[in-house]
């Protein structure tokens, strides 16, 4: 059998080819996969790639690239050809990385404990003392037995001779395991048959072990575990929310936590709840602005003291970043023999730490053949390839090395191995790096079978997710039966039935409340503008006046229309204003802006929303992309599409969402928002109307989607009173003001710690509204002799609505200060 799958360069350089030793025959463990990929054929593979990409977009898998001008939330890119590792080879890697984890863990224990490695000179003091990741407050702090490292990630590369080498260690908040899990879900879905028949080691047992290990860190039987994220702007935020949801932890940001009496608490809408274990994705020194970096906005003031007091466990332990430096690599073989009595199983890539004088001399002589990096990653220096430097630059670099040699390491450039990648209808080969993960279970160590494979963007270039590039699933092809347990569907464990949900963090309640308000605001804006746009071109002067009044009910501060007092806007000006209020993202009252807020807020609470809701949010964001050449007449159709998506979202919210606190806040947001704009619109018809104002009534019915209701009751006669009855008083109409207030009060009274005064005010407002007998108002046409006295009742209704218009936002403010405010305030540093 021959490999005819590669079309572009078969192999390049002397790099190791994962697929084939001779470029013709696949290695034995690749044969089955390549055979079945060939059987599937290029057309079908292409279709499956499209399916995989769609799933990635739908699941909202993203990776934020800081330097990407296109902005955050770039879709994750994945290659559907898995990376294969044979069982025997995996055993070698597994033993190597587990030994490495044990060794690094022992080194950390010594550096933060007795420091015997310093006094014996086995560990260079510079690498501790000059290292910004050395956290002095953590020295001597009791950390649960051998748990400095909860998880270690190791980047591995294969050299031309087929050996695996360690490129770097990630010791403080290793990322990527969640992406590995998501890659597995997608690739096993795209290639189900070959996955089933290949006896691939499953990932779920690893995550089960991770959950157990974190649970065991606390002495409590049912500990509260949170995942601390830097927030939605972080490059791997998707993964944080994914892991939190998968493992059942609460996703929190620093501002969600507070330290009281040397313990850590989560601020929830029910009050403070103690936190026992923190799985952190925030870098070491940012975790506590009181004792570590005072400029950090990501941490929890007092966290270090809570750790010192033993009241909270953090994984990985604070300070573990100190051994993330590549500068320790030259010392690991010696340290391994000294501390474990074994020799180091997996070598590190050749590394020279310039703090050693002979290493500095060697590096200065061989600048051309090495990559120079900062010894301490937080210095933020980009790797420098010596061979690419001009002579003058080399001189400058040499001077920097000599001035502070301990700040630099040089590493050999390794020729990375190549693996097959599928794209544009053929296979080609790309450099790969395997990120492997080891977990400390408390009783030993276990590795993710496989890991995350990262693929270089172009031939032979640097492999880094921060620079773009793909990733791959890694399959360990096992030689005995595998456990097919999945964490999402555990079979063999009895489940304790539970209904009560853990407390909702204040910040989450805040966001879902605003998600509710923004979705409703988007719908209102879309409905009003659609109604206006479909009429403005054929409207006469009188009708245009009505349309302008409706626009006024939006209370737009960024309106482009002339002030009503000055002169009346022309139809053309009004058209421009409507286009602007739909599509101008710079206006905070535009539909486009509101939808981008829906997307932003939705993404920040994605672990609380269903996958289908996230898909809708993604579609909403792009639903009104309007180009320069979009015809005015096309707008209503675009708005209708947007409204369909919004309705689908409301449907899911109503039919598919558990009635927990999150739902409660979202629904309250919705009711408040709808009540606010409804009140504004109703006020437009609480003064005497003339016949010329009739179109206003028609528009209002259309906006409230109540034209049908009206017509079945009153046929075609448009009467202000009847319209008021439908839109204000009819408690059976879900678009009426009565309905909003009744439901608002009902939802509000279900909140914990609610304000009795606000609940009473809501009920009073409803009662007041209901006390109006619309029949007695006697709406008469102007000019009628009865008009003067009859308009009195109308004016009273107007002032009631005016009062309500002030009350509604105050309820929203009170809600904010009662439930959300403490999650919003950022601490200020004083005295430093």
């Amino acid at each position: 059998m021959t490999v005819d799958l590669y079309q572009t360069p078969l192999r390049y350089g002397d790099a190791y080819d994962e697929l084939s030793a001779d470029g013709v025959t696949p290695r034995p463990h690749w044969a089955r996969l390549m055979e079945s990929l060939r059987a599937i054929g290029p057309e079908e593979l292409g279709r499956r790639c499209v399916r995989a990409e769609r799933r990635i977009r739908e699941n909202g898998i993203t990776y934020n690239i800081y330097s990407d001008p296109l902005g955050a939330n770039r879709p994750w890119e994945i290659d559907i050809v898995p990376f294969l590792i044979a069982a025997d080879e995996w055993r070698v890697i597994e033993h190597g990385i587990i030994q490495r984890a044990q060794l690094l863990s022992l080194i950390l224990e010594d550096l933060y404990g007795a420091q015997s490695l310093l006094s014996s000179g086995r560990f260079p003091a510079e690498l501790l003392y000059a290292n910004p990741a050395f956290l002095r407050p953590m020295v001597g702090v009791r950390v649960p037995a051998h748990s400095y490292l909860h998880m270690l990630a190791v980047d591995l590369a294969r050299s031309p001779d087929g050996r695996w080498w360690v490129l770097s260690d990630r010791t403080q908040a290793p990322s990527g395991s969640g992406y590995a899990l998501e890659n597995r879900t997608i690739v096993s879905d795209v290639l189900p048959n070959v996955f089933r028949s290949s006896n691939v080691l499953r990932l779920a047992p690893f995550f089960r072990a991770q959950r157990d290990a974190l649970t065991a860190l606390s002495e409590r039987s049912n500990p509260r575990i949170v995942l601390l994220t830097p927030g939605p702007h972080n490059e791997t935020y998707f993964e944080h929310s994914y892991i939190a949801r998968y493992l059942g932890f609460t996703l929190v940001e620093g501002a969600d936590l507070t330290v009281r009496d040397r313990s850590v608490y989560l601020k929830t809408v029910d009050g403070l709840e103690q936190v026992d274990v923190i799985l952190r994705r925030v870098d070491d020194s940012f975790c506590d602005p009181l004792e570590l970096r005072s400029d950090s906005l990501l941490g929890v003031p007092g966290l270090v003291d809570a750790i010192v007091a033993g009241n909270v466990k953090v994984a990985n332990a604070l300070g573990s970043g100190v051994i993330e430096t590549a500068a320790i690599m030259p010392f690991l073989p010696g340290l391994c023999r000294h501390m474990t009595g074994e020799s180091l199983k997996l070598p590190s890539v050749a590394t020279w730490w310039c703090g050693q004088s002979y290493a500095l001399d060697w590096v200065l002589k061989h600048l051309d053949s090495v990559v120079l990096k900062p010894a301490f990653p937080s210095r933020g220096m980009e790797p420098v390839f010596g061979a690419k430097l001009e002579q003058a630059e080399k001189g400058k670099l040499a001077a920097r090395l000599q001035a502070q040699p301990h700040e630099y390491v040089a590493q050999e450039q390794i020729a990375l191995s190549n693996a097959p990648v599928w794209g544009n209808g053929h296979f080609y080969s790309r450099s790969v790096v395997l990120r492997a993960y080891v977990l400390n279970t408390g009783n030993g160590w276990t590795a993710i079978p496989g890991g995350l494979v990262r693929v270089a963007e172009a031939e032979g270039s640097v492999v880094s997710m921060q620079r773009g590039g793909h990733s791959k699933d890694a399959w360990v092809l096992w030689d005995s039966p595998v456990d097919t347990f999945s964490l999402l569907h555990p079979r063999n464990q009895p489940v304790a039935l539970r209904r009560e949900l853990p407390g909702v963090p204040s910040s989450v309640a805040d966001r879902v409340f605003w998600l509710g308000r923004y979705v409703e605001r988007a719908e209102n804006t879309a409905r009003i503008t659609r109604t206006l746009i479909s009429r403005v071109r054929r409207a006469g002067q009188e009708e245009l006046g009505c349309l302008l009044r409706l626009h006024r009910s939006l209370k737009s501060r960024q309106s482009k229309l002339p002030k009503a007092k000055k002169r009346r806007a022309t139809a053309l000006e009004f058209e421009h204003e409507l286009v602007s209020i739909i599509s101008d993202v710079k206006r905070t009252d535009s539909l486009a802006f509101t939808l981008s807020e829906v997307s932003r807020v939705g993404n920040s609470v994605r672990e609380r929303l269903s996958a289908d809701m996230m898909i809708l949010i993604g579609q909403l964001r792009t639903s009104i992309q309007i180009g320069r050449d979009t015809q005015f007449a096309e707008y209503p159709a675009t708005l209708t599409l947007c409204l369909e998506l919004l309705s689908a979202f409301s449907g899911m919210e109503r039919e598919n969402t558990t009635r927990g606190l999150g739902w409660l806040f979202m629904s309250i947001g919705r009711r408040l928002e709808r009540a606010i704009y409804l009140t504004r619109q109703l006020r437009e018809i609480t003064w005497p109307l003339g016949e010329q104002d009739w179109p206003l009534l028609e528009c209002l019915l259309e906006i409230a989607d109540s034209s049908m209701t009206y017509r079945t009751r009153y046929y075609t006669t448009l009467q202000p009173l009847a319209v008021l009855d439908v839109l204000m008083a009819d408690e059976s109409n879900p678009r009426s003001l009565d309905f909003q207030l009744a439901h608002l009060a009902d939802l509000y009274q279900r909140l914990p710690r609610r304000l009795p005064s606000d609940l009473q005010a809501m009920r009073d407002a409803l009662a007041l509204l209901r006390s109006f007998d619309l029949r007695t108002i006697g709406y008469t046409l102007p000019g009628d002799p009865a008009a003067a006295k009859d308009s009195e009742g109308l004016a009273r209704l107007g002032s009631v609505l005016e009062g309500l218009e002030r009350l509604l936002p105050s309820w929203s403010d009170n809600l904010s200060s009662r439930y959300f405010s403490h999650a919003r305030t950022l601490p200020i540093t004083i005295g430093l």
Partner: protein
Amino acid sequence: MIYKIIHRTTYKYKYPVSVGSHVACLKPRSLTRHRLAQSELHIEPSPATMTERVDYFGNHLSFFTIEEPHNELVVEARSQVVMEENEPLLTQSSPPWEEVVKSLPQDHSPSTVEAYQFRFESPRIRIRPEFAAYARQSFSPGRAMCEALLDLTARIHKEFRFDSKSTHVRTPIEEVFRKKRGVCQDFAHVQIACLRSLRLAARYVSGYLRTYPPPGQPRLVGADASHAWVSAYCPGIGWLDLDPTNNVVPSNGHVTIGWGRDFGDVSPLHGLILGGGAHTLKVAVDLEAL
């Protein structure tokens, strides 16, 4: 001789602070030069929690949180320190400074390993060729360590001007060096940067200085301030204190609270507050010989 010290810090906030977490480093250390006899901390409003801890450098830290809304925070540290009569170490003969540079990384004795951490950059102190060049005018080849140290101290005293208006607590050291103006904290930072740029170990010392009223005038209560100076390490001799602000070798007029890599490690009082808005700070120190 016994000193009674009262160090009173007052923060006034424009809006109420709902929660404040603070760290105070206000309790003098005991060392050969002096011994702490008594110390207490009075805090208003009274803290919800209060913890004492000895930090990595051996300084006494007090952690406290205030969990009731307050517009004003008053922290008053009262201490009594017994001064011992000591011969200043600087009169001893010392090796050439280059030998000190050489022996620092090689000597694995506990005190030198401990001292070695003070020879690197720290959050507020950079190592720069211009600092090294400035220092070399005092640290000429082969010059004895103590002699060179005294000379550098005298030069900083002479060439830098005391000016409390020109800098603030966050002024970068490069700017102080360029302007040649600042306060005791800035001079200490500059001298440390000079020494570390020569690969010597130097640390920042926070403390108090006894002041004397002009002849014939009464001592003004609370007119003193907290002070800062420098300590440099010489293997075989130990730590040598130097006060560049006054060009003196600290002796029985200087009371040491603590030391660290720079001001950030021994800030007398810092914290994080929720709310508060703008604030004003007032510090009054009173050092009285009993």
